[in-house]
């Protein structure tokens, strides 16, 4: 059903849409849990929804429910940029999405984002299905070529690409009857600055599970290490090239030599006296604060120890005092 698209439209997907869809899916999964599973699983509902979704899927052996919604964005010429999305209820009897709600939501969004149009719809699952075509056709009166975003909620640790597929509908002639089928198209992820910050934040959440300062330090240092390694590799390539040029294996390319010389001119990156002063001052400040914090820690521990000591021995001396009267 899914071959590659030939319509020539380029799709740009914002991370907000992916986060919205996965959030919707997670919420529905965790809301479904209490009526189905035992009490032991309800305590795990308070933690990571996706995690316990997997647990309940294994224990209850039901497939995760499909969620539906609408995607909105802007279409400029041949570029379709999907900015945002909202949820919709699916009516399994009529096999269509809740139309009145969709229109109401569309009006509300139009007030806030006047440029956004309904570009299509989304759903979760592993592959596009026949029944999806119904919904697709239903949306065709709003947008003559809606786009179908499919998110695969199963977690596959070996997979590197995001499990999102974008499908368009195309009219193909199959067995003499023109039919609409889904064809998948490629997309790029486009990020606004605010989205970049939040995605970065989420990506760095893993180390704080371990929590201790040492693992965070190690993570930070590892990041720096890989960055410097990349720089090192590239500088080595330049070095080899220049050595070969000096030996005469390559013809002297003046423009490149000029660029390299201007690059080397930027080293040493920072060496003025003022930098040394500021750097040492900040270094000393950090050391001082660490020392002070350690002092405070030690003195509070000492205080606690003295209190415990006094409690233990005081009782003894008071009793000693009373027995003197007897």
């Amino acid at each position: 059903m899914a071959s590659s698209s030939s319509s020539g439209l380029t799709f740009k997907l914002h991370p907000l849409v992916i986060v919205n869809i996965s959030d919707h899916c997670t919420r529905v999964k965790s809301q479904m849990n209490p009526p189905v599973t035992s009490a032991a699983n309800t305590t795990s509902n308070n933690t990571n929804g996706a995690g316990d979704g997997v647990v309940t899927a294994v224990s209850a052996a039901i497939p995760p429910p499909r969620v539906y919604g609408c995607v909105i964005g802007v279409q400029r010429g041949r570029t379709v940029e999907i900015f945002n999305s909202f949820e919709l209820l699916y009516d399994p009897i009529a096999h269509s999405l809740d139309r009145a709600f969709l229109e109401k939501k569309q009006e509300l969004y139009k007030k806030v984002f006047p440029h956004f149009y309904i570009l299509g719809w989304y759903s979760t699952g592993s592959d596009a299905e026949e029944s999806d075509m119904h919904i697709h056709k239903g949306l065709m009166d709003i947008n003559e070529s809606p786009v179908y975003v499919l998110l695969n909620p199963s977690i596959n640790p070996a997979q590197k690409d995001p499990p999102v597929n974008i499908y368009e509908s195309e009219l193909h002639v199959i067995d003499g009857i023109p039919q609409l089928i889904f064809v998948s198209s490629s997309y790029t992820i486009e990020t606004v600055e605010a989205e970049r910050i939040s995605v970065d934040h989420v990506a760095h959440l893993k180390p704080s599970d371990g929590g201790s300062a040492a693992t965070q330090l190690a993570a930070h240092l590892t990041g720096m290490h890989s960055a410097i390694k990349m720089l090192n590799n590239r500088v080595r390539v330049l070095h080899h090239y220049l050595v070969a040029m000096q030996k005469g294996e390559f013809a002297c390319e003046n423009s490149l030599l000029r660029q390299v010389s201007s690059l080397l001119r930027r080293l040493p990156a920072i060496e003025s006296e003022k930098f040394q002063d500021d750097f040492l001052m900040e270094y000393n400040d950090t050391l001082l604060i660490t020392y002070l914090a350690m002092f405070t820690n030690c003195s509070s521990t000492m205080n606690e120890l003295v209190d415990k000591f006094n409690t233990a021995y005081d009782r003894h001396s008071r009793r000693g005092g009373r027995t003197a009267f007897m």
Partner: protein, 246 residues
């Protein structure tokens, strides 16, 4: 890097022109090349055979001018003004821009006094105007002007044409850079290992202390059970608390 791109077309254009002509007709081409506002690279033109030929003839003045523009500064021109042809104002401006580039080669912080001396400018205002308008807006240098300390901090300067000996220096600098970054990588890895080891040690220590606390608690509860019966008198409780504390 964008300067190189801007210059690439100009260089091609002038090289083509120069290779098509010979002799004295090359002079106006050289003047045009050296006064063009966006062209700062002359080694390609210097390499064109018909330009090299000029060196032998009496007209070698223009070849010297071209060489001056490729490697020299305004001070060089003043010293040799006798044997070089007159420069038009555009060329003078270009030569001064190239002088700034050469100065930026050696120092990152250029004092105003040195700049004023090299460029034959008498007051600071003129110097700053020159730096801002001719150098920074042209894109050949990027930096900060520090008026309080009267210096110009260069963050980026476009490269000038290389003299033959400079390639060796560049290779030296590159290999130093590589060595330093490799050392840095090794020390970062050591730090990571250190951080991991210290956290391991800390956890072990904590666990040890907690185990000892557990052991002492257990021994205490045993002692309490054995001492609990005869402690009705205060004397007895005093003795038992003494032994517990010990």
């Amino acid at each position: 890097m964008d300067i190189e791109q801007k210059q690439a077309e100009l260089i091609d254009h002038f090289v083509k022109k120069a290779s098509a002509l010979k002799g004295t007709i090359l002079d106006p081409v050289i003047i045009e090349a050296t006064s063009h506002p966006s062209l700062f690279a002359f080694s390609e033109i210097l390499a064109v055979p018909s330009v090299v030929e000029l060196g032998g003839t009496e007209n070698s003045g223009y070849l010297d001018v071209l060489r001056l523009f490729a490697h020299g500064t305004w001070t060089d021109y003043k010293n040799n003004a006798g044997c070089l042809p007159e420069l038009i104002p555009d060329q003078v401006l270009k030569l001064k821009q190239l002088t700034v580039l050469t100065l930026a080669e050696t120092n990152k912080v250029l004092p105003y006094d040195q700049l004023m001396q090299e460029l034959d400018v008498t007051n600071v205002r003129e110097l700053e105007d020159f730096l801002i308008n001719e150098c920074m807006y042209a894109g050949i240098v990027r930096g900060k002007l520090d008026q309080l300390r009267r210096c110009f901090e260069v963050q980026f300067a476009a490269g000038r044409d290389l003299r033959p000996g400079q390639l060796g220096n560049m290779l030296q600098t590159l290999s130093n850079w590589l060595a330093t970054s490799e050392n840095l990588l090794v020390s970062i890895q050591e730090k990571i290992k250190w951080a991991d080891t210290m956290s391991e040690l800390d956890k072990k220590h904590r666990k040890d202390v907690e185990d000892r606390v557990e052991d002492v608690k257990k021994s205490l509860s045993l002692k309490l059970h054995t001492v609990s019966r005869p402690t009705l008198t205060s004397e007895g409780t005093r003795r038992s608390t003494l032994s517990l504390v010990e």
